[in-house]
Symmetry: C2
Subunit: 398 residues, 2 copies
Amino acid sequence: MEFSTLRAKGRVYLDHNATAPLAQSVAARVPEWLEQWGNPSSIHQSGRGPKAVLRETRNRMAQMIGAGAPLELIFTSGGTEANNLALKGVFEKARMNERRRILVSSVEHPSVRRTAEYLESRGAEIAIIPVLRSGRIDLDAYERLLDENVALVSVMLANNETGNIFPVKKLAELAHSKGALFHADCVQALGKIPVNLRDLGVDLATFSGHKFYGLKGVGVLYVRRGVNLESLIHGGAQERHRLGGTENTWDIASLGEMCGFQGQIDSRAEELKRLRDHLETRALAEISGVSITGGESERLPNTSSLVIPGVDGETLLMNLDMRGFSVSTGAACSSGSPEPSPVLLAMGLARAEAQTSLRVGLGWENTQAEIDLFVDELILIVERIRSFERPVLGEANV
Amino acid sequence: MEFSTLRAKGRVYLDHNATAPLAQSVAARVPEWLEQWGNPSSIHQSGRGPKAVLRETRNRMAQMIGAGAPLELIFTSGGTEANNLALKGVFEKARMNERRRILVSSVEHPSVRRTAEYLESRGAEIAIIPVLRSGRIDLDAYERLLDENVALVSVMLANNETGNIFPVKKLAELAHSKGALFHADCVQALGKIPVNLRDLGVDLATFSGHKFYGLKGVGVLYVRRGVNLESLIHGGAQERHRLGGTENTWDIASLGEMCGFQGQIDSRAEELKRLRDHLETRALAEISGVSITGGESERLPNTSSLVIPGVDGETLLMNLDMRGFSVSTGAACSSGSPEPSPVLLAMGLARAEAQTSLRVGLGWENTQAEIDLFVDELILIVERIRSFERPVLGEANV
């Protein structure tokens, strides 16, 4: 299947971890989905088309991620809601059997981190599994923290800022050995690497449509059959009472459409890795002092988190933006905040290092020519910023 | 502005309280909105268009519903999520100041009713304000239930099954006199009658896009400035930390588009009332035993809840469906459930009456010719069903 997106002409988009441009094939089918405006819960004619869309998407998505059965998938309004449902839904049920502990890694997305903080205020005991500067999770610390009081462990499959991939299969096995449930936020991984829940052996997993070229407004929480979950949004009987509200058929349909690209993920990943490595090789060689955060550990093929000493990340971002390149300094959800990335600080970077960090997230449409244009521009801008910030004193007398 | 929808040719859609067919003018603008696929939180170029869409919709919607300021509006994934946010968000904060009581009417939508039940399991004290068979809320009972322990009162502006309109302005004044907050679910009212929050004087109010010819996947919770609300979905800084998650730009934009039809609401309401009254006049005159639930009280102009003795509602619905008419037996969210409508039972109808109820919800595109076709068909089907259920013994010997 051909692949292209609605990305703007004349710009180079390198922020696919924030959101992906919409696939043309999704945009092309939207008018057809809009015809299915009925309420999927209606039992008359207008409900049947929408209901079929939900069923088909659930089947395709279950097949793509290797779920045991389509009904193990709950459609949510996005990854954030799915992460909230996982943590709150499990904790609400677990506290009845006295397990009050939740373990999360130090580099989770805010939708896991802040939900854990909230649950702490409601009686949960939260413990943080450290992630080392190398990008590896601290397995010894994890094993020390795991005990019979742990209800749930939540560790992402791949980090949104560094791209680091965590050994979820092994972490889940260890959790299960203590009777704890395991949740993996797979939002950043979907579409960038193959994800198979049968291999990973997790109990809950989160996915999002818009990071994989689909429409915004749709996510999925996989909940293994038998896991006891309190509802997050109480209301109608939708999603078997675990998330009420009329389903947004077209957003959901877009996820089903993207399942058609599953067969391309492997080869796309190879090409992404080649481009990303090319970018890093040039940046390391041609810009002094650059380092790659988490670069020595397993990573998503598309992500690069660069520390460029002496160059404020936000200034760099704005200069690149003016020249037609979209990148970011960290998670988009934290954009606009003056604070440096909590993920990078948690990994042990100094504030100054985190503040001079740039995140590049490549996508399926990027080309080597674009990457070269980007690095050329990056070199020029870094030189200019560095020359302002560290004026050559000799010239002041000219 | 011209108005038309994507409704199917050759069918008569009379279930607008379940969902409205999508407006053509919304469908026509979707491709343009899809171009705004960026993440509104991104600070580079691709985030600016989406951010502008959110800002513009917030402004238009605030103007339409008479909010004090656009930032009093929180975009949600729909009415159900907004109702959950209202009740849970207020209760979480209120329990710190010892007010543990929540009053809700007996005819609220499941997203209020079931959320209240959930909060009861978490320490809230729930009391139910009765709604009488006439469609009026029991004001005496309300005043007896109101005291200084009440944190929140939640009564809908208009009921989704009978269309009955409740005196929210007065109910809110009484709540305020005891220091309680007031929430009104305005989902069914929006677009059917003018809604002005300045007049109503409520603290929180819920709206939904798809009941007003917009896209599914978007709702609004109005929260008066100064009301203290715990977040429902923890995550990024979206919606000022009260509801995390990347915003679904196009669904939100559709709500803004529909604000352009505000000027038509008054005259459309008059025409709807004329058609609805015509339908009821004929049904009452031409089908024996029919009664209108809540018909003697103030109602939305488009809604009719008919009791047709001796005719099972679901059988009737399916027969009408086969003949090209979409109606329902109650809330779409409860469809498929064998139980009769909890709303009708709460109003004092017997099970047999609730089971023989039919809900008709008219919309802006229905015509008198359609209504007449519908009543003609209704008469024939009712006659047929009644003849099966009460066979004429004399004919058995022919």
